[in-house]
Symmetry: C2
């Protein structure tokens, strides 16, 4: 029963539904035996740690703490789901003020207590702003900070598989870019349906333009649907992907889905942003480039990026992010 | 991304906290791509299945149904956590009437819809009676039905590791036998603490007899403690072990912990029982023999088995199990 590495993994928000699932998955996937659970809810934290001990993963060295300095000391990897959860009827944007503050605080704590951390995965929403804020405030390199965005693309895969009545993994190349929120840009370019090009199917009897729009809407509302069905927001699927993202960094096996990453291409109007790009995670971290698509897709991406920019500006106005002109001062890797 | 087999796994109670975790773990451990989720709570079931699809496990073929006949049709493996949960302050015994009925019904459904099922893991409490009732009513062989009991032993491992301040996996050979409930028999025979015999440590300065009694009590109340800490009963650790138990059957790699199994040794007073025995799970299923221990340990086991017998007799009185004299008629493998 070997582990993939011996590095210290800290799960922030470890007592929550997503966090506790992340802990369990990280051990099941044998990422590392050195797992530290951090949460401010002490009773829940104790219970979560206890349950993990009751799993008796051979070799596991599980610790827990309610003190962030203790948690982060010597951390090699961090996965954080330690934000406020989205509640029924709540828009992702409404989480912004609350969670940008939390992300900024964690970023500053990383800067202080574990500046040598190798890779950070941010799970809590709005994940673009959470990832962005943590990146700026922590002083880490862009390739070291990613955020959860895979679900938009896997939900597209699911919806297309359902429509075409094919096994889910016969739908390939699904890529949803831009904001991880209502303005996400759902691309069809590069998507294959059992070997056929989705772009060529749209507008035919196989998939009317209207149905394609409906599928795009389904992807946008898939998170809300989970809340309606389960009475709580998604927790198993975000935890799953968060662990797979870190796994890719550790093993170097390319992560199969898009994720959030820093992008600074001012000439396209997409300067100083953090959102879902054409990126990948491997042993180097997350690398990022501008997506390529049809004119219509690029316009959707442009609009989506403007939404990210406006959320970012709200976080700046609230004081959780510095003004753009100061970013390179606060974090020289963004210069 | 290969799976260990291609057989059909049905998770009963798939929408619950334990059940949904079992589904996720079964796919993460790549037991089989063919997973059917069954639950009577349709909305929750849809949400759970949807989340698993959003994980996008390559190759997975996930189906869901609220119809037991559809679920069980062609089932090769069943893991069932589909009982009523234990609520705060509730004794395991109080669950008996409710859950013995559920176990009997599932047993009869197995008999009718999937008599060729290979292996069944029963998770819901009181698990001895649930496993026993399902075994009798299903007509399956004793080696094909097991119940979750590992947690008592892993909790003993955890408590001893804490007391002796050693890593948890340096505590070896933990075995808790008998009822999976308050009368469980916590053995010290065979337990090693970083290579030393626990039996020889008890009564020394390293572990007073009184502290040993306290540790035994901790093991008995560990489940209640989780409820106090988390506000809900254990769900991650039972799901973990349930999946590992099935994994052992599929791979043949011996399961590391005890489990519930049928035992019929009338000459010891332990006739027609189902409880935690000295057993193991491998590709053959669960095999069972009488534990061996000190006179005191065997007396504790005897007392514990009497508790199981009395719960069993309650299930018989309630009509969920046939009278003992009829067991071999109802299930010839018990003859």
């Amino acid at each position: 029963m070997n582990y993939l590495c011996e590095e210290k993994l800290v799960v922030v928000g470890a007592a929550g539904a997503i966090g506790s699932n992340i802990c369990q998955q990280a051990l099941t996937e044998r990422l590392t035996p050195r797992l530290t659970l951090y949460d401010i809810n002490e009773a829940s934290l104790r219970g979560t740690a206890r349950e993990l001990c009751h799993c008796a993963f051979p070799g596991a060295r599980i610790t827990r703490t309610v003190h962030v300095n203790e948690a982060l000391d010597g951390a090699d990897y961090i996965i954080t789901s330690g934000g406020a959860p989205r509640r029924v009827g709540m828009k992702r944007e409404e989480l912004l003020t609350e969670n940008a503050r939390i992300a900024a605080e964690l970023g500053l704590n990383i800067r202080q207590y574990c500046p040598k951390v190798k890779f950070v995965v941010v799970v809590f929403n709005p994940s673009d702003i959470s990832g962005m804020t943590l990146l700026v405030q922590s002083g880490l390199k862009p390739r070291q900070v990613t955020s959860l965005a895979a679900l938009d693309s896997t939900r597209l895969q699911y919806s297309l598989a359902r429509h075409f009545r094919v096994p889910q993994d016969q739908v390939t190349g699904c890529r949803v870019y831009g904001e991880h929120g209502d303005t996400m840009a759902v691309f069809h370019s590069g998507v294959g349906i059992a070997g056929k090009s989705l772009s060529e199917l749209i507008g035919t009897a196989a998939l009317s333009a209207e149905t394609w729009r409906k599928i795009q809407d389904d992807v946008r509302t898939a998170g809300k649907q989970i809340i309606e069905f389960r009475g709580r927001s998604s927790f198993q699927s975000p935890a799953h992907h968060a662990v797979q993202m870190l796994r890719s960094f550790i093993t170097g096996e390319r992560f199969a889905w898009p994720s959030g990453s820093y992008l600074n291409v001012p000439e396209t109007g997409m300067g100083h942003l953090f959102m879902t790009n054409d990126n990948t995670i491997n042993a180097h971290g997350v690398s990022s480039k501008m997506p390529v698509g049809t004119a219509e897709e690029m316009a959707a991406l442009q609009a989506s990026s403007q939404q990210v920019a406006s959320l970012r500006d709200m976080a700046i106005a609230a004081g959780h992010l510095p003004p753009l002109a100061d970013w390179a001062k606060v974090n020289p890797h963004l210069g």
